[in-house]
């Protein structure tokens, strides 16, 4: 019996296991290792702080997400020994493999920033929305908040879903407006980047929305410490931003076993070939999704596109052939902008997000890089697609490689800058 071993049953690991279950001959075993009982639909976390109470629909028992043929080992990984093709588990047992896929994702490292971990567990003014528990606690805090300075801080790139912080602020603007409290709440986005987003065309659209919604923007802020006593965050160049409520997106890193096994970079992400997904320097190991060091987004759509490429490359590798350079960095995501609207963006390593129609030229039905209600409905519908098509590894009608069909390099027209605030919130109150 030959063995494919997948470490991590998040989006990437699960969809790959299910795809390989259909592809591999009967003399292969497929084992996936993950200690968590439930599979979490992470995009659902964004809506919980604003009152959504459908946690149950964000969770599924892991056993139900895996094909019958896939064996699930419910344990944490301690160490990989590539030279022996062996993985030791935290429970003392070990698994051997012919081919290994590291799909162990990214974890939140609050302890990387002095003062942050203590403040996050301690005083009730420091929150996150990247964990189920964090999103729940933040929901209670936002419901209580009558006014004050709400600061969203991204500690350091890379993070999971780089647009989520902006979505959070857009939804927060909408949330406080509807409750007639927007006048009393100051929203600030504090980012290590030099703008709202790193790609010019998208930066222009998102930068416009941030301004129009009256959200303050503090850029190139590299977080040095959280001072919970003074309720402020400090940067390495000694700038200070005070908060009444801090929503932190902490430093992200790979799973601890990656570094312990010598497979990681300085943050514990696996150095990975950008087009074949083979781990650099390890012929028998591939990496997938958030666990890689690739400059593509840490997002579910990326794990899906990579999964299609990796399925083929594993079949090639098993047959003794060289892997193909099939992954182009393709990313596709909806950005919630508040008020029941969203923007859709589609891009890859080389081509930034552009305006146009998606997926069919002229027809759409979705608009790219432009706010619309249909995009918002698309985002909501995506949960069904996730559980019923993406995780089971079924075909989706979006090509693995990014397509230029329906796109234009003409900058999207933006309305004249609106004067934020007053009129709207008076009407709401």
């Amino acid at each position: 019996m030959k063995s494919l071993l997948i470490l991590g049953a998040g989006t990437g690991g699960t969809l790959l296991a299910n795809r390989m279950a259909r592809r591999l001959p009967d003399d292969w075993s497929i084992t996936i290792v993950d200690p968590e009982e439930n599979h979490l639909y992470q995009p659902g976390l964004l809506f919980l702080p604003f009152g959504a109470r459908d946690e149950a629909r964000c969770l599924r028992p892991r056993a139900r997400t895996l094909a019958r043929r896939v064996r699930w080992s419910r344990a944490a990984v301690a160490r990989v020994a590539p030279e022996r093709r062996r993985v030791s588990l935290a429970d003392g047992t070990a698994l051997e493999y012919d081919w290994l896929v590291v799909a162990s994702g990214a974890e939140l490292r609050f302890a990387e920033t002095p003062g942050l971990a203590e403040a996050h567990t301690g005083d009730g003014a420091v929150h996150d929305f990247y964990s189920l528990d964090g999103a729940r606690r933040l929901r209670a805090a936002l419901a209580r908040l009558e006014g004050g300075r709400v600061v969203l801080n991204v500690a350091e790139m890379p993070i999971k879903c780089p647009v989520a912080p902006m979505e959070f602020l857009f939804l927060a603007d909408d949330f406080f407006r509807r409750r007639g409290r927007r006048e009393r709440v100051e929203l600030t986005y504090v980012t290590p980047l030099d703008g709202a987003f790193t790609k010019p065309m998208c930066n222009r659209v998102l930068g416009y929305l941030i301004g129009a919604k009256g959200i303050r923007l503090e850029t190139e802020f590299a977080l040095a410490e959280v001072d919970a006593g003074a309720r402020q965050i400090r940067s390495f160049d000694d700038r200070v931003v005070p908060y009444d409520l801090l929503v932190s997106v902490p430093v992200h890193g790979g799973a601890p076993f990656v570094e312990a096994s010598g497979l990681g970079n300085e943050l514990g992400f696996v150095p990975t070939h950008p087009h074949t997904l083979q781990a650099k320097g390890h012929e028998r190991i591939f990496a997938l999704g958030d666990a890689t060091d690739l400059p593509s987004s840490k997002a579910g759509s990326v794990a899906h596109f990579q999964g299609e490429v990796l399925e083929d490359n594993l079949m090639r590798a098993i047959a003794g052939r060289a892997p193909e350079e099939g992954f182009d960095g393709h990313t596709n995501c909806f950005i919630e902008t508040g008020g029941g609207k969203a923007i859709l963006i589609d891009f890859n390593y080389e081509t930034e997000p552009l305006a146009g129609r998606f997926p069919w030229a002229g027809v759409g039905p979705l608009d790219l890089l432009k706010e619309s209600r249909l995009n918002h409905l698309g985002k909501l519908a995506f949960r069904w697609v996730y559980w019923n098509a993406m995780l089971p590894g079924r075909h989706l009608p979006i090509s693995t490689r990014m397509s230029m069909t329906g796109k234009t390099r003409v900058a999207p027209a933006l309305p004249a800058p609106a004067v934020p605030g007053r009129g709207d919130s008076d009407a709401a109150a």
């Binding site: 030099d194 590299a222 040095a224 970079n265 400059p295 987004s297």
Partner: protein, 104 residues
């Protein structure tokens, strides 16, 4: 791509002022690029610049801030004093490298 003259040599730069070809870089061009940013280079700066160039040769891409801080022997706090505002970007520009990839 626009061209600029530094230390008597004409080089190609991208729209944000990063050298297009890192092989065209010389220490004199480094001095000139630093001068443009209002920085007089000290031995600590050169430690960082040499690390960035050597690491780029090895890795194929310029190092980010965390990697510089972890491996060059100069910590984050000092990097901010040496290369104010955005040390990752500024060190790369002075070292004649491309803009470090902001991960999106």
């Amino acid at each position: 791509m626009p061209q600029r003259e530094y230390a008597g040599k004409t080089v190609e730069v991208d729209p944000e002022g990063f050298l297009v070809d890192r092989q065209e870089w010389t220490p004199e061009i480094g001095e000139a690029l630093a001068g443009e940013a209002g920085i007089a280079l000290t031995s600590r700066h050169w430690t960082v610049i040499h690390f960035c160039r050597e690491d780029t040769e090895k890795q194929g891409a310029p190092p980010g801030l965390r990697r510089i801080a972890k491996l060059s022997g100069v910590d984050t706090k000092e990097l901010y004093q040496l290369f104010p505002k955005g040390p990752g970007k500024l060190a790369a520009r002075i070292a004649g490298l491309s803009k470090p990839q902001g991960c999106v």
